[in-house]
């Protein structure tokens, strides 16, 4: 009897998916849900205005772009990479779309196609350089960040973009941007998170991303097509950047200035690591990223609502990063000892 026949003849185990995969919600996510709940309750008590639709809705709108790009960033960080060029990419996608809308009143789908297409291209440039160029992701994306910013500034041509039409209002803060009180941009983001969660958990392609981050060499030897997978992760990030740029334009005024996208890459990375994804790769969760984004934006919004100096928000973000990653570290250490 060959080995293969022998294994098939064995009595089938009762194992189900649950026994092979780790539980769908990790310890880190439980903690985050708890912390966010506590924060919301506290804020609700100290600033009654916080728990009103008027305050929650803009909050959700502000969470959307960070969490959306965060999904792509999670994929990238799981492969033990990183992308610090998303700020520059946002700037470029936003200014190109805005200018196109101003100069040639394009319909919604065209605007979206331009944004997502351009974002995808930028992401694939990063992906190609990293996958085929044998260079560290952090260095290359520092470089492309500058290049994207340069191109964006040339398109801006030293002024702001004015008179942006309301084509993208369906993603905005106003009435047109909501259904049953839920902002569309947030709903789409949650949908993307769910699809990404399923992909990472239940498809071979998704599991391969973890394999690449865990041991890229072993992944290659196991026959995984490492380079195309990596390109996919960065390309996805780029495409999501394009979509997020549309959300950002929609949630702003009819004027777009050169500060758009500035510092966003760090916000996204903060959301991802607070969510429990390990910067070393091989381990991560898009649900955690969504929760991380909610936490960061809650803090920012809460600080303003409490009347504290707005810069304090950054201090809290820094502290939360330390606490979140610290507890994750301790948990990992305990798990390894057992």
């Amino acid at each position: 009897m060959s080995i293969d026949e022998r294994t098939k003849a064995a009595p089938p185990a009762k194992a189900t998916a649950r026994r092979i995969l780790p539980s769908p919600v990790t310890g880190q996510e439980f903690v985050l849900i708890g912390v966010i709940a506590v924060l919301w309750v506290l804020l609700g008590i100290f600033t009654p205005a916080f728990l009103t639709p008027n305050s929650i809705q803009p909050l959700l709108v502000s969470i959307a772009p960070i969490a959306l790009i965060g999904v792509g960033m999670t994929f990238v960080i799981i492969t033990a990479g990183i992308d610090v060029s998303v700020g520059g990419a946002i700037m470029l996608c936003a200014v190109v779309v805005a200018k196109t809308m101003v100069s040639a009143d394009v319909p919604l789908f065209v605007a979206l196609a331009i944004a997502i297409g351009l974002g995808l291209l930028l992401g694939l440039i990063n992906g190609a350089l990293i996958a085929y160029g044998r260079v560290h992701a952090i260095i290359i994306t520092f470089g492309t960040a500058n290049i994207f910013q340069f191109v964006a500034l040339r398109v801006f041509a030293s002024s702001t973009v004015n008179g942006i039409p309301g084509t993208l209002d369906v993603f905005g803060r106003g009435e047109a941007g909501r259904t049953f009180g839920v902002p569309h941009s947030f709903a789409i983001t949650v949908l993307v998170v769910i699809v990404a969660w399923w992909y990472l958990r239940h498809t071979a392609g998704g599991r391969h991303l973890f394999a690449i981050g865990g041991n890229a060499n072993a992944a290659r030897l196991a026959g995984i097509k490492v380079q195309p997978r990596v390109m996919l992760a960065y390309g996805l990030t780029g495409a999501l950047v394009g979509l997020a740029a549309c959300f950002i334009i929609a949630s702003g005024t009819s004027t777009l200035d050169q500060a758009v996208g500035s510092g966003k890459e760090l916000q996204v990375i903060a959301a991802v690591v607070i969510g429990g994804t390990s910067i070393l790769g091989g381990r991560g969760s898009v649900i955690g990223t969504l929760l991380g984004a909610i936490l960061v934006q809650t803090v920012t919004s809460g600080v303003t609502q409490l009347g504290w100096p707005s810069q304090l928000a950054n201090l809290f973000v820094g502290i939360f990063i330390i606490i979140a990653v610290g507890t994750d570290l301790l948990r990992e250490r305990a798990r390894r000892k057992s």
Binding site: K8, R19, R207, A218, R220, L221, G223
Partner: protein, 527 residues
């Protein structure tokens, strides 16, 4: 080279002819031929740098040959990627388990060839197949859901093998599989291998442990300096002949060990225990004496060395140096007491890969680089390094060369030199010639012997049976964390193996070993 090949020529399962491969400016393989018959175990031996791992990588698709042909079952094939070779039925189990630490055992086994049902992974189906696989390699079923990073190295090795088995391989390559296995685990491995060959699978078996080959291999190919020198049925050669083919000459006689003078007791361990690793170890090492501890991975031997050196703590018992009880809490303290240690795994524990040989030698005694505390003079570094390059016959154009450019044997000499910059009172050597070619092995043994002659107390912890017999004055056998037996230098291999593996294996080993057992005091021990 076909005149040399004396195997029956039906269609070979796998045949490589006229392979050539270079990296940058260096020829890794000058000319290689190898032909594997179905259902046989074909050993591949050679010193480090001979080209074995490159040849294996070409077969596995991890590298592409510059020239030459590859044929499977008589049909010419091109292998340009790992998936090509996997499709042809080649599976490789590397020395370092190529696993994903954050994924479960089951996921690791199926990675790259997941069972899918309409786009999503078929978890239940995979779980069903795991049952039989785990049984075959001797792992408990419950381990299927364990995260691989939490398993021991030996267990990870077994997972690697299960993974190779799962893909219905026709050619299974095992790269130094026994290096990290205990004897019972090696027996399980051999049973699995025999089962596979009976079913028609070919196994390519790479090992430095020449004596093992006689227990499992059918044919052997020897490589040297990038060429396949010869391929013969295993019965036609003796261990000594294989070793000579690997080195390219006749092995010299081993130097007779000074039977005599040992001095005062330098190291004394009394009821030395580290919970979970070793228990109630009692041993002494005297000045001028070489004590060998023979124990396979997992037996506790290397842990004892680690605790003596201060990398870990003992949970009970005492350690005394020169008669005074001491507690060593960290390596810097050990060094102050005159204890120096050569770590077992050079690449992860000893080598500073892209730094110069000079830095690699002096890094243990930076205080010698300058008169003022904290000052380091490059001239002094060079002088010390050059001195050791000469003394230990390290082959290098200059001390500035990075250690990564050296062969295993030379690199090991560099790391050994590091321990000798300041004369140790007690020198602990863990696996001193692992991954070292036969020629350099001899030189290192000579150096160790010389050190003992000059009065250093030496403790060698090794899983290489030939080595421990060759250089030790006394041999302690560790099994499952306890000293199982003590022998003097004229013990035989069979006695030691028996003590290490447990008496029930004794007769089996005696029967399987086809080499001549010669008391080591007189002659060359097969390595």
């Amino acid at each position: 080279m076909s005149a040399e090949t004396t195997l029956a020529t039906e269609t070979y399962r796998l045949e490589l002819r006229d392979i050539v491969k270079s990296y940058g400016g260096v020829r890794a393989i000058r000319h290689a031929d190898i032909a594997i018959t179905p259902g046989t175990v074909h050993a591949l031996v050679g010193e480090n740098g001979a080209g074995k791992s490159t040849l294996i990588k070409i077969i596995a698709g991890a590298e592409i040959a510059d020239a030459g042909t590859i044929a499977f079952d008589g049909q010419l094939r091109s292998i340009s990627s790992t998936s090509d070779s996997i499709a042809l039925g080649v599976q490789t189990v590397y020395q370092e388990p190529q696993l994903f630490p954050e994924l479960s055992v089951a996921e690791n086994v199926f990675v790259g060839r997941e069972l899918t049902k309409g786009g999503r992974v078929d978890w239940a189906g995979q779980a069903a197949q795991m049952h039989g696989l785990l049984d075959t390699v001797g792992l408990p079923e419950s381990i299927a859901t364990s995260i691989v990073g939490t398993l021991s190295i030996a267990q990870q090795q077994q997972v690697s093998i299960a993974k190779a088995l799962a893909s219905d391989a026709s050619v299974l390559i095992l790269d130094e599989p026994s290096a990290i296995l205990t004897d019972p685990e090696i027996e399980v491995l051999f049973t699995v291998i025999r089962r596979l060959t009976a079913a028609g699978v070919s196994v390519i078996y790479i090992s430095h442990r020449l004596d093992e080959l006689f227990r499992i291999a059918d044919a052997v190919t020897v490589m040297r300096d990038g060429e396949t020198i010869t391929t013969r049925p295993i019965g036609e050669l003796s261990v000594r002949q294989i070793a000579e083919l690997m080195v390219g000459g006749v092995l010299s006689e081993s130097r007779p060990k000074d039977a005599g003078t040992s001095g005062a007791t330098v190291l004394e361990l009394t009821d030395f225990t580290r919970e979970g690793k070793f228990t109630d170890v009692n041993l002494t090492v005297r000045a001028g004496e070489i004590v060998g501890i023979y124990g396979l991975v997992g037996s506790g031997a290397s842990e004892i060395a680690g605790v003596i050196y201060g990398m870990d703590k003992a949970t009970s018992g005492t350690m005394a140096i020169d008669g005074t009880p001491v507690t060593v809490k960290r390596p810097s303290q050990a060094k102050k007491l005159g204890i120096h240690l050569l770590p077992a795994n050079r690449s992860s524990q000893a080598s500073f890969s892209f730094q110069s040989i000079g830095l690699n030698i002096v890094i243990g005694e930076l205080g010698l680089l300058g008169r003022l505390p904290g000052y380091a003079s490059m001239r002094k570094q060079r002088a010390i390094a050059d001195d050791f390059i000469k003394r230990l016959a390290i082959k290098t154009p200059s001390e500035k060369q990075p250690i990564s450019a050296m062969s295993g044997g030379n690199a090991q000499k560099v790391v050994l030199a590091r321990q000798l910059v300041r004369r140790p009172e007690l020198l602990v050597l863990a696996e001193p010639t692992q991954g070292v070619d036969v020629g350099a092995k001899e030189e290192i043994h000579r150096i160790i012997s010389g050190l003992a002659d000059e009065g250093t107390a030496v403790l060698v912890v090794t899983s290489d049976l030939g080595e421990v017999l060759r250089i030790s004055d006394r041999i302690l056998v560790i099994k499952a964390g306890e000293i199982a037996a003590e022998f003097t230098g004229d013990a035989t291999q069979v006695e030691i193996l028996a003590a290490a593996a447990g008496a029930e294996v004794d007769a089996q080993i005696g029967a399987d070993l086809e080499i001549e057992i010669i008391p080591t005091a007189q002659t060359e021990t097969p390595t």
